[in-house]
């Protein structure tokens, strides 16, 4: 089986778990357990291949054109880590089954859990640097979700946010580092990168790459100075702490350091950056662990300290230290996970994790206590346990460090001090919780947890014992394969044995144990009430973090105040100036007119634009006080534009422009009703002298800007129009429109065939706009003063009396009767014309857009002439359905190409002869254009009708105020259909 499945399975499981009902606790556990066991099996059976061949690769092509593939690569080290992730996953799932309360939404937990597992396996098995970073960030995201699982708790939300901020920011640094590495090597493939160690170390970009990668790894593994997020992440449910924050995720950082060890290590910079961070973390973490009150807090700082140990080992630039580091990654995972499980069980059974309250639990929970004691002994480095072995290897390594006397002596001394602290906090953890007089004031009466909950912890403790006693027989071969895959030819000889004789490391261990026990006894009294860490309590990473975030917020707000404005006019002014300035960069030397002979001067065309320009300027001057006039004038300019399209060989554009113009004018006309009245004499009377001066100067400025913009665009256009056009891509469309597209109207063939995907996107946008308009207008509340019927209507009503329109009259009453008749007759004709334009579109000017807009215009005419109530009493238009049908048609036409195993939106054509009808050419392109047609009708009608209904609402309201009883009748008489008011 391919290693790809190891990564895919958990994600698939996560998706399934997400869809389970929130009380399906056992189903979720079975699902997650099955996935984890499958991952363990799949990984395990790869071992013979990994051991014999070295590297197993699997490539899943993604975008081969860009050189992007999903590459999965299993070597000895990745295999060992994948085993760690999947085995731990399986154990924690079993543990979580009993830990999580019945009222927690357990499937959600397992959905995130499995997603994390998949992401972690993805990090471990990635054979490509970028892909690794993607999975890396996924682990940060899923860990955020898991820490904030109990999101009703403030500490969980805060801890999750802090963890995400720190680790995701580190991930971004890592991405930058990986990009530099890929740039140096010329490939992102891990195999290629690993083979280019000398090239990378010699490059000038080595140091930046190292710093960025280190930032990624140190944040993830909670190393100084980024260690502060880990204790706050303990707000997560304990299974999450077991899995993410002791066994796997925090190990991702050291995993990466091991992974890139062959290419980045071996330099002074590596020694100082990685080694120093590891050393400080090692000592500080152990020191802080002594003074924690929370059981999980002790374990969190202990984890930080042990991760520091691994980091320090990696920083020592020694291959033996690397082997010790890999060994300790495994050992730490076993004893620390087991201890976290014990802490969770104590919390679960007693209701508290407070060390000052817990005492004498041995009597109530003997098995838990025994397991915790063995694991804690391993943590403290007691012989015959696995923690002892890697600790001895660490002590031995600290003595081989060469260099300055300070490092040569300082490092072993600090190692012993670390050992003393470790013994002290391990002792305290056990003695405080399990021994002494039984605690009296516990929230719950403690007893042994269920047997199945103990099982994962027991298995881990068993592993501690077996590995601790027979290291060479159990871990030996796996460790060897893993180290060999990293070190290759530089594999040193080493021996995994419990007894190496009486040597210096053993003496160091003994000193640590004795002094550590003494330290525990000496601190005994002090620790009882201690909640603060002496000496370093003031250097709280969390406070620094929150301070930084707060400052950043402040700076951002300050920048917003100075660099941004809420005033639209200022924004637009700046935007226009910016566009002008950008256009000036290439054009500042001037662009002389070209010398291509223009087309002959036509007085009619000049006259057309004389009118057009007058319309445009008129619209500009009238838009404030004479809206109707401005709208008509703008429409005039639009007509001139449409005629220009006709003039210069663009009949399709002219048709579209013309119908769009009609619809736009109707649309804005419907909106005019709701704008506030504005009279020049009132404005003038209200404004003070100063305001008038300011307004005048602003207008002068805008006038200048508008003139400059207009003049420059005119000059630019003229300069372009008098030049020979470059050889673009147009000839392709003209030459292939008929042979490939089967239509002689090139524009239509481009829209529905060559660039059909663009059109599909475009009609989707139009449909979304229509629905947005509909949604906005549903909640529309017109301003109170525009609720009154307009003055003219009031005058008319005063003459004829208020008459609610009768929706059942065959024709609209009064003066609209004749137009009503005409418009009714027009509807079928317009329908036929619109279908005509739709069908001829492929070969002659026309198409779905034009046809749809013609039909929509005919429909809206019914509304305009007859009134909304009258029109809706006899037409049953459901614009939503039209939009949906249109999208389905267009997308279906695209999908139909898949039936013929061609790419999406390829046209399928059928040409043949039918009896009676004769020769016939059918193509999916027509179906696509039909989709456009439906959608345009639906969207346009939906927008217009939604606006028209606002008048109806106002009318009904005023009628209701005048004659309440009549209004209820008229409302009841309305057809119960899904109108825009529904």
């Amino acid at each position: 089986m391919s290693p790809i499945w190891i990564v895919i399975l958990p994600f698939a499981g996560s998706l399934c778990a997400a869809f389970l009902p929130s009380h399906a606790r056992n189903a979720a556990v079975w699902l997650a357990g099955a996935v984890a066991v499958a991952c363990v099996t799949l990984t395990f059976q790869l071992y013979p291949q990994v051991a014999s061949e070295g590297v197993v690769r699997a490539v899943l092509p993604w975008v081969p054109e860009l050189g992007l593939d999903f590459t999965f690569r299993v070597d000895g080290f990745a295999w060992l880590f994948a085993m760690l992730v999947s085995v731990m996953g399986a154990l924690v799932i079993l543990y979580a089954r009993y830990y999580m309360a019945a009222q927690d939404p357990v499937p959600r937990f397992f959905a995130f859990f499995l997603a994390f597992m998949g992401a972690m396996l993805g990090v471990v098995l990635s054979g490509n640097l970028i892909q690794l970073v993607v999975f890396w960030e996924l682990t940060s995201l899923t860990s955020f979700m898991l820490i904030a699982y109990w999101y009703h708790r403030v500490d969980a939300r805060r801890g999750a946010r802090m963890a995400l901020t720190v680790t995701a920011a580190g991930g971004l640094c890592l991405l930058a580092g990986m990009l530099i590495l890929g740039h140096i090597v010329g490939s992102y493939d891990l195999d290629v990168v690993l083979a280019s160690g000398d090239l990378i170390r010699a490059d000038v970009w080595y140091l930046p790459a190292l710093v960025l990668v280190a930032l990624g790894a140190l944040t993830k593994s909670a190393q100084f100075p980024f260690h502060f997020w880990l204790p706050h992440a303990m707000a997560a449910p304990t299974p999450v702490s077991v899995y993410l924050h002791s066994a796997t995720m925090v190990k991702a950082g050291v995993f990466l350091l091991v992974r890139l060890w062959p290419v980045l290590a071996g330099t002074q910079a590596w020694f100082w950056i990685i080694g120093t961070s590891g050393l400080i973390t090692l000592v500080l973490g152990a020191y802080a662990a002594i003074f924690q009150r929370d059981m999980k807090g002790v374990l969190a700082y202990s984890t930080i300290s042990h991760l520091g140990l691994i980091t320090l080992l990696l920083g020592l630039n020694s291959s033996l230290a690397l082997i010790a580091a890999i060994f300790h990654i495994m050992n730490h995972a076993t004893f620390k996970a087991s201890l976290f499980m014990a802490a969770g069980m104590v919390d679960h059974e007693t209701g508290t994790r407070d060390l000052t309250r817990l005492s004498g639990l041995y009597r109530a929970m003997p098995i838990t206590a025994t397991l915790a004691m063995v694991a804690a002994a391993s943590m403290a480095g007691v012989p015959l346990l696995n923690g002892f072995l890697s600790k001895e290897m660490f002590f031995a390594e600290t003595m081989f460090v060469s260099g300055h006397a300070v490092t040569r002596i300082g490092l072993p001394v600090l190692a012993v001090i670390w050992g003393i602290f470790s013994v002290a906090y391990s002792l305290r953890f056990i003695l405080q919780v399990f021994f002494g007089p039984p605690a009296q004031d516990l929230p719950r009466k403690p007893h042994e947890p269920p047997r199945w909950m103990l099982l994962p912890s027991a298995l881990l403790v068993l592993a501690c014992l077996v590995v601790g006693m027979f290291p060479a027989a159990t871990m030996g071969p796996f460790l060897d394969t893993a180290a060999r895959s990293v070190l290759g030819a530089y594999m040193p000889s080493y021996s995994l044995a419990v007894w190496h004789g009486l040597n210096l490391p053993l003496v160091m261990s003994l000193v640590a144990m004795v002094v550590g026990t003494g330290l525990y006894l000496a601190l005994g009294k002090y620790q009882q009430g201690a909640a603060v860490v002496p000496l370093i309590n003031r250097f709280d990473g969390r406070r620094l973090f929150e301070f930084t975030i707060q400052k950043l917020d402040g700076v951002a707000a300050w920048l917003m105040r100075w660099l941004s404005t809420e005033r639209l006019q200022v924004q637009l002014l700046l935007l226009i100036c910016a566009v002008f300035a950008i256009a000036l960069i290439p054009l500042h030397k001037g662009l002389p007119a070209g010398n291509m002979a223009g087309s002959a001067f036509q007085p009619a065309f000049a006259l057309l634009w004389l009118v057009g320009a007058a319309c445009a300027i008129g619209a500009a001057t009238q838009a404030k006080y004479h809206r109707l006039a401005a709208l008509s004038l703008a429409g005039g300019a639009g007509l001139a534009t449409a005629m220009t399209f006709v003039w210069f060989s663009a009949p399709d554009l002219a048709l579209t422009q013309l119908v769009v113009e009609v619809v736009t004018v109707v649309l804005i006309l419907l909106g005019l009703r709701w704008l506030p009245p504005r009279y020049a004499w009132i404005d003038d009377a209200l404004d003070s002298f100063g305001a008038r001066v300011r307004a005048r100067s602003r207008r002068l400025r805008d006038l200048a800007l508008a003139s400059i913009a207009g003049a420059s665009l005119a000059m630019l256009s003229y300069a372009v129009l008098t030049r020979q056009a470059g050889k673009g891509i147009s000839h392709f469309f003209i030459e292939n429109s008929l042979p490939l597209g089967g239509g002689s109207n090139v524009i239509n063939v481009i829209l529905v065939d060559f660039r059909g995907f663009d059109t599909l996107g475009e009609i989707t946008v139009v449909g979304i706009v229509a629905l947005t308009v509909f949604a906005l207008l549903r909640r529309f509340r017109p301003a109170p003063e525009s609720m009154e019927p307009p003055q003219q209507q009031r005058e008319q009503d005063a003459q004829t009396g208020i008459a609610a329109p009768d929706p059942h009259a065959p024709l609209p009453p009064g003066p609209m009767m004749v137009p009503g008749t005409l418009v009714q007759l027009l509807l079928p004709v317009a329908g036929m014309v619109s279908v005509f334009f739709l069908l001829r579109g492929h070969n002659e000017p026309g198409g779905g857009f034009v046809g749809g807009l013609i039909m929509a215009t005919a429909i809206i005419l019914q509304y305009l002439v007859g009134g909304t109530a009258w029109a809706e009493s006899r037409t049953r238009i459901r614009p939503h359905y039209w939009i949906g049908a249109g999208l389905l048609c267009a997308a279906g036409a695209g999908l139909s190409a898949w039936v013929a195993t061609r790419p999406f939106l390829s046209a399928l054509a059928w040409h043949g002869t039918l009896p009676v009808i004769g020769e016939l050419h059918l193509s999916t392109v027509l179906l696509f254009d039909l989709g456009v047609y439906f959608l345009v009708i639906g969207s346009t009608v939906l927008i217009l009708v939604a606006l028209a209904h606002q008048s109806l609402r106002a009318h009904r309201k005023s009628a209701a105020q005048a004659r309440p009883e009549a209004a209820t009748v008229s409302v009841a008489a309305l057809p119960a259909q899904a109108g825009p008011e529904a």
Binding site: L572, L573, G598, S599, A600, F601, W609, G612, A613, A619, A620, A623, A637, T641, T644, F648, S649, A650, D652, T656, V660, V663, L667, I668, G671, L675, P676, D702, A706, S707, A709, G710, L713, A714, M715, S717, L721, A725, G728, S730, I734, L738, S744, N745, V746, I750, L751, D758, T759, V769, A770, V773, L776, L777, F780, A783, F849, I943, A946, L947
Partner: protein, 114 residues
């Protein structure tokens, strides 16, 4: 002819920009309309001006120099439809803002006295 065409673009742009900078929403919507005419004409002009050469072909082996450039036309066709949709959306936002804020100023409030 080119000079008339260029001047037309200039006048439409000038009027459009002037209106975009005005404070009332209705002015901005009309300005937006005028500016989109100008931009559409500008893009269309990139294919150069040709009279009586619509890109509707009759033969299987056409000579591209005998037809107007279809690419800007296709682009402008799309632009016309999208600008219609934008105008509709803008109009409704304008109306909703007027209903909510009680003013037709583009900022939703009358400019404060300095």
């Amino acid at each position: 002819m080119e000079i008339v065409y260029a001047l037309a673009i200039g006048v439409l742009t000038g009027s459009g920009v002037w209106l975009l900078l005005r404070p009332r929403t209705f002015q901005v919507i009309i300005g937006f309309s005028l500016l989109s005419y100008a931009v559409n004409l500008f893009i269309f002009g990139m294919g150069r001006l040709a009279v009586h050469l619509p890109p509707i072909i009759a033969t299987l082996d056409p000579d591209p120099s005998l037809f107007d450039d279809p690419v800007p036309q296709a682009l402008v066709l799309t632009a016309i439809v999208i600008s219609f949709a934008t105008t509709a959306l803008f109009l409704v936002v304008l109306l909703a803002s007027r209903g909510l804020t009680g003013t037709d100023h583009v900022d939703g409030e009358e400019e404060p006295e300095p």
